[in-house]
Amino acid sequence: MINILTVKDSLQIAWQGMLMIFIAIAFIYFVIMLFGLFQKLQKNKTKK
């Protein structure tokens, strides 16, 4: 039997869950890019 509260909870879990995953992945992406930038600067420094 469908429980409306359960369906409501599941919708809430769905949007909150996907948002949290994307935020976590975005943070990880940011860390990767930051590190890549840092490595590029280090490389340019050693070239000079």
Binding site: S10, A14, G17, F22, I25, F35, G36, Q39
Partner: protein, 379 residues
């Protein structure tokens, strides 16, 4: 007890449901050996199903005239899964030691496909709740879409679902992982045209230093732990295994983790899960629903990843082959191979493997984060 009572006691307790479960066990063994479907898990699960469905089985806890006798499989289940989910977590150390995040680090934008391809988990949670499962059961069923056996087992156990549901989730998770080469092409062709499947992508990887590969697992652990603390067990053990691999000073531990540890835990995990495959718990309508919902989760994950890629293509000049989005599920490396194969079928000179591998390993990260996020929300 007289002699004939002693001889016939098991036969008296044997029901048609036990017979059906033993046949299911034999079917899992057949699929493992003959069809080579995830043999490392399906064979132990199949044999375990036979062991636990024989009446008065000595592998389960029994009570004889007031005397409690501990069964070996019940003990393994209590210690290895129920207490702190240690079996799946130890398995994650081994899995982490096998993953190379290099392709992802050299092409970081593909990390978002791992996130997108988890959408099937949450859509399945909604569908399961519409069917009538309570929220924790719906979440445990949805996590089949993580395409990751240990994550599914851990989440289902932490959420304390009924044993019959737990068994069905485990069987579904591992069976559908083995069926990825059949499920994904069907789902991809539903939402792409041949022209889209022919899109070529240049492969110009950035150089990735050893230091980056060492810092990456630490950074992921910190980020995931701060955003979803309940994911720390899953993410932490996975990244610990990866750190052992990448540090370069623990080669013997890395080899042990990726071979002996994985083999040992897989051996025990499969047969232990079978404790929840008792006939009275497994042979229910809910099992059929779960098998159907698990399949839906995989299909929706694939479609979600593909549609995300198509959405990105609306805003970018350099097009992404939408099939790479499908590789964002955690079924590594099967999903990447499926995408590579379909790319070559559409265009024999279109090699998508490295892009697909990058999306695939990002799916590994995203799926464990998804498991932790679900636990964070529900606990």
């Amino acid at each position: 007890m007289d002699f004939f009572d002693l001889l016939l006691q098991s036969f008296r307790e044997f029901t048609w449901k036990d017979a059906v479960m033993i046949l299911i066990g034999c079917l899992l063994i057949f699929l493992a050996i003959n069809r080579k479907m995830e043999p490392s898990l399906l064979l132990p699960m199949g044999f375990g199903a036979i062991l636990v469905n024989l009446p008065l089985s000595g592998v389960l806890n029994q009570s004889f005239h007031g005397t409690e006798v501990t069964g070996a499989l019940d003990w393994l289940f209590n210690v290895g899964i129920e207490a702190a989910e240690i079996f799946p977590l130890l398995l994650f150390i081994g899995i982490g030691a096998m993953i190379d995040f290099g392709p992802l680090l050299s092409n970081p934008r593909l990390i978002f496909f791992g996130a997108a391809a988890q959408v099937g988990i949450f859509l399945t949670i909604i569908i399961a709740s519409l069917i009538g499962f309570d929220i924790k059961e719906a979440a445990s069923i949805g996590i089949i879409g993580a395409a990751d056996g240990p994550t599914s087992i851990l989440v289902a156990n932490v959420l304390n679902v009924r044993p019959g549901i737990f068994a069905a989730i485990s069987v579904a998770a591992y069976s559908y992982m083995a069926l990825v080469p059949m499920i994904q092409p069907f789902a991809i062709k539903l939402v792409t045209t041949k022209k889209e499947r022919m899109i070529r992508m240049d492969y110009n990887p950035r150089w990735v230093s050893k230091t980056a590969k060492i810092i990456f697992p630490i950074a992921v652990t910190l980020v995931a732990g701060l955003i979803a603390p309940q994911s720390l067990a899953l993410v932490g053990f996975l990244m610990f295994g990866n750190l052992i691999r990448e540090c370069g000073v623990l080669n013997s531990l890395s080899d042990t983790a990726s071979t002996s540890l994985v083999n040992l835990i897989t051996l025990l995990l499969g047969i232990t899960i079978a404790v929840s495959m008792k006939s009275e718990q497994f042979l229910t309508l809910d099992t059929l629903y779960i098998l159907g919902l698990g399949l839906a989760a995989f299909v929706l994950d694939t479609i979600g990843g593909v549609l995300f890629a198509k959405g990105i293509n609306l805003f970018t000049k350099k097009k992404i082959n939408p099939m790479v989005g499908a590789a964002g599920i955690s079924a590594f490396p099967m999903s990447a191979r499926v995408v590579q194969k379909m790319g070559l079928e559409a265009d024999p000179e279109n090699h998508l493997l490295m892009h697909a591998v990058a999306a695939n390993v990002s799916g590994q990260i995203a799926s464990v984060i998804a498991g932790g996020v679900i636990l964070s929300i529900l606990l």
